[in-house]
Symmetry: C2
């Protein structure tokens, strides 16, 4: 994969050796050590050595939230009447609905059993990113929240890779979001470090020399989606290395990818 | 790339040898012959040989529309007063606005200079998919429409690959769509053949044995996004081969990915 890599190729490899993550785990060190071991002589990803400055590490938010303790035990939650009523009508857990409402800066839609909120980060997503699947071996009372500051989570992983592996790679923290109008979830970036989430091609010429008027590529979201295809949804594989995506290494934040309310037509 | 390919790996390669496409070109044969030549002995993608039944071919809609003649010469268009007014207010071409309105089954939003419509296919997207960039060497009077029946376009390419290369591969026709709430476009599937656009994991157990309640993976959209990372936006590279995405080879149509109006909260 490394030797024949050339322009017009993309390669995604899942990082082996990362087990169950629990609160308090030093995830940045775990990711960095696994990456270093995987590309070292004898490692599972030795064909990817040497790492390259345009490689991108994608880490799913689920393990970030677990390690950082962004976890709520629903047994501690007293739902408000609005949450009880919505949950009863749509066969949902009222305590989970309560957590979603507590995490919300604003409710965007609350209908048809679907609860779409704007989180404190500015993300608009189903259930405010509160996640009840694949949260660990404990039974149904544990839910995961989004990481408090996903850019900072990405920066910490990036710093550990720099310190332990000796290379400065871009890092994306990803999560699975739905979209209006189309069924299904795709993985998107919710935190970035060392990569700009969008690439603004406005004002640059297209293949015919015509100035492109409105093309902004959501590169980090596409990288997160490509990583998801390799990681899958049920395999317990939380980290991928993406090579060939030509990331824009500009320092940025995920906020750059979010449309402010004043420019938005759907809230 | 082929030899070391294993579970948890994704590889995307751009197909070389496809030049400018013009109306009347037999795109299915061109794609199939290029694919066959690329993986043949001495070809540019010989490291990908042999092709595998879970490889997916992604073709951007732009070349499909060109080959099929889904093209409008704006010099022939007489804009209605509503198009003239909107275009004047937002510094747009009134003839292009007119074409978008003609292609629309329904206008979803028409504000802030943004025109979001539902096309006859059922896609909801900016400018109804009408595309004025990278349309060819002619100057600004030509726009591309979406292919009339992208599933049929994908099926024709699939049939040509089967006939010429001798393997039945899934084919996706892709286009670049924006999303509410986040800046930037990502590539999504607008036509499929030999692959289901979504993978419904509802009712299957997650890694902890808990039944997943609402996970539908938009696999074809993620494959389209992964392909876009390799193809880029300005390179004139319209076809990619994606290996490792574990496509669901169920016969389907892109309609399966579209949320019907009755279930939708954002139109």
């Amino acid at each position: 994969m490394a030797a024949d890599h050339a322009a017009g190729r993309l390669a995604v490899a899942t990082l082996p050796g990362i087990g169950e993550i629990v609160p308090g785990d030093d995830l940045p060190t775990i990711v960095a050590e696994s990456l270093g071991a995987a590309v070292a002589s004898g490692g599972a990803l030795v064909d990817l050595a040497p790492l390259r400055p345009d490689d991108v590490v994608v880490v799913t938010s689920k393990v970030v939230s677990k390690a950082e303790g962004s976890i709520v035990d629903l047994a501690t939650i007293e739902p408000r009447p609005e949450a009880v009523a919505f949950a009863a009508r749509w066969d949902r857990d009222p305590r989970q609905v309560e957590v979603v409402l507590r995490e919300a800066r604003r409710v965007v839609r609350m209908a048809n059993g679907v609860l779409i909120t704007e989180t404190e980060h500015g993300f608009i997503c189903a259930n405010g990113g509160v996640d009840a699947s694949n949260v660990g071996p404990r039974s149904g009372d544990i839910v995961l929240l989004l990481p408090r500051d996903p850019d900072a989570s990405a920066a910490a992983i990036r710093a550990a890779i720099r310190a332990i592996v000796g290379i400065d790679l871009a890092v994306i923290v990803s999560d699975s979001f739905g979209r209006p109008w189309r069924w299904g979830i795709t993985d998107v970036a919710i935190g970035v470090s060392g990569i700009a989430p969008i690439e603004d091609l406005r004002g640059t010429p297209d293949a015919d020399g015509r100035v492109m008027r409105s093309t902004i590529r959501a590169v980090a979201d596409e990288i997160a989606s490509a990583a998801e295809l390799a990681l899958g949804k049920v395999g317990g594989r939380p980290v991928a290395l993406v090579r060939g995506a030509v990331p824009d290494r500009r320092e940025s934040s995920i906020g750059e990818a979010l449309i402010p309310a004043a420019s938005d037509l759907f809230r």
